[in-house]
Assembly symmetry: C3
Homo-oligomer: 163 residues x 3
């Protein structure tokens, strides 16, 4: 890395950890209206099957290629909330800072998401890996790109919500 | 925060992480006799359903409002151990330090607890969020208050043990 | 610890965290050929049932008592890959640095491993605790010993792969 671009990597990793921790808290608390705030002005969010990533297939389960689309998703979710009430709970581990280029930090982390439907047992909903590009903006760290790559070959129920 | 109250927050968070890591190790290792040592002299421990927290209902699945009650719980568990042998395993992630007031640190973290009964498959027992107030005493960091707020609407089996 | 042996423990713990994070990524990505690189020249790797550890029974589900045996295991896995394709996903938490002796660091961490078989739901495969001895070699941190101690009394399917 060039001298000007070098930051304290331990501090950057700490910011990345806090970004992910706040991000999953927002989703677990069902504060979906605040979800777009975790993204930069020009941002991409996708949920994709691991199998498709490994085969280089350009198929996404959910794809938002601009911040406007990310915001539209929130409106769609709130309008379409006909599904049963449920709780989500994210566990995130093994966050790694893989590199930096021109102030964009490449990150990854493993995730497990658990779902509790009313009067049902808590189940594993989805496991996989986040791959992210993070920028440090004036208003704090933001995702310029966030991919949620899931192992599951079956999505239990329609995936309407972000992960 | 006032100048006098300001500590190195990164160091405090590290202490909080170590407190939680030691706490869940104690429970996973079934060293329940040491469980009260994680609490301050005046302490509260509760296990509560998320649904009740969100509705502001004052119903707790387990409620200890003094250290004496926390210690009594240990005696009760050891006397009442008629249930099948089982292993618990805690996964804790996304620890956040949310604030500080008069030397009391407000913390939260997500948890997933897995249970293995003899000759059965390992199952998700409970997922949820810890909410804690931590103090830094002469004998190390302690919980002044620990709430285990679980998502599950059904508790598999009687909840006799702390989480 | 003696003065000469003292290192910055926070830095050592960070290196341990990164070792575990890279280790589980290697397994999750099915890059098993690189798995032996996480071990020192003289190393031990074992997968053992918690029940046997607690009873001091010297029975291991998988046991490699030299680096040669660790390398042989990779060859055996690739030759024997007749089992169904599956994805593994590791979640690791509560890493603790328990002590140091003569440059060998004693570590432990909890793990949960999830398995996704083709066209099946994602399941909890195994939960348990890693216990490790780590050395800091010229080529980075390595495991001198790694034990994966699992709670499960039943292993779903033949355990051919490392955890």
């Amino acid at each position: 890395m060039e001298a000007a671009a070098v930051r304290d990597l331990a501090a950057v990793k700490q910011e990345a950890q806090e970004l992910f921790d706040a991000y999953v808290e927002c989703l677990d608390d069902d504060r979906i209206e605040q979800w777009p705030d975790f993204f930069a002005d020009h941002a991409v969010y996708k949920v994709v099957a691991r199998e498709n990533v490994e085969r280089n297939l350009p198929i996404a389960t959910m794809s938002c290629t601009s911040k406007g689309m990310i915001q539209d998703r929130v409106v769609a979710i709130r309008k379409a909330s006909v599904f049963s009430p449920r709780y989500l709970r994210h566990i995130v581990s093994s966050l790694r800072l893989l590199g930096e280029e021109s102030g964009v930090y490449l990150l990854q982390a493993n995730f497990a998401v658990f779902q509790t439907m009313q009067d049902e047992e808590t189940k594993v909903f989805m496991v996989g890996k986040y791959r992210a590009k993070m920028v440090l903006s004036d208003s704090g760290p933001k995702f310029q790109e966030l991919l949620a790559i899931y192992d599951s070959s079956q999505i239990p129920g329609l995936l309407a919500i972000p992960i």
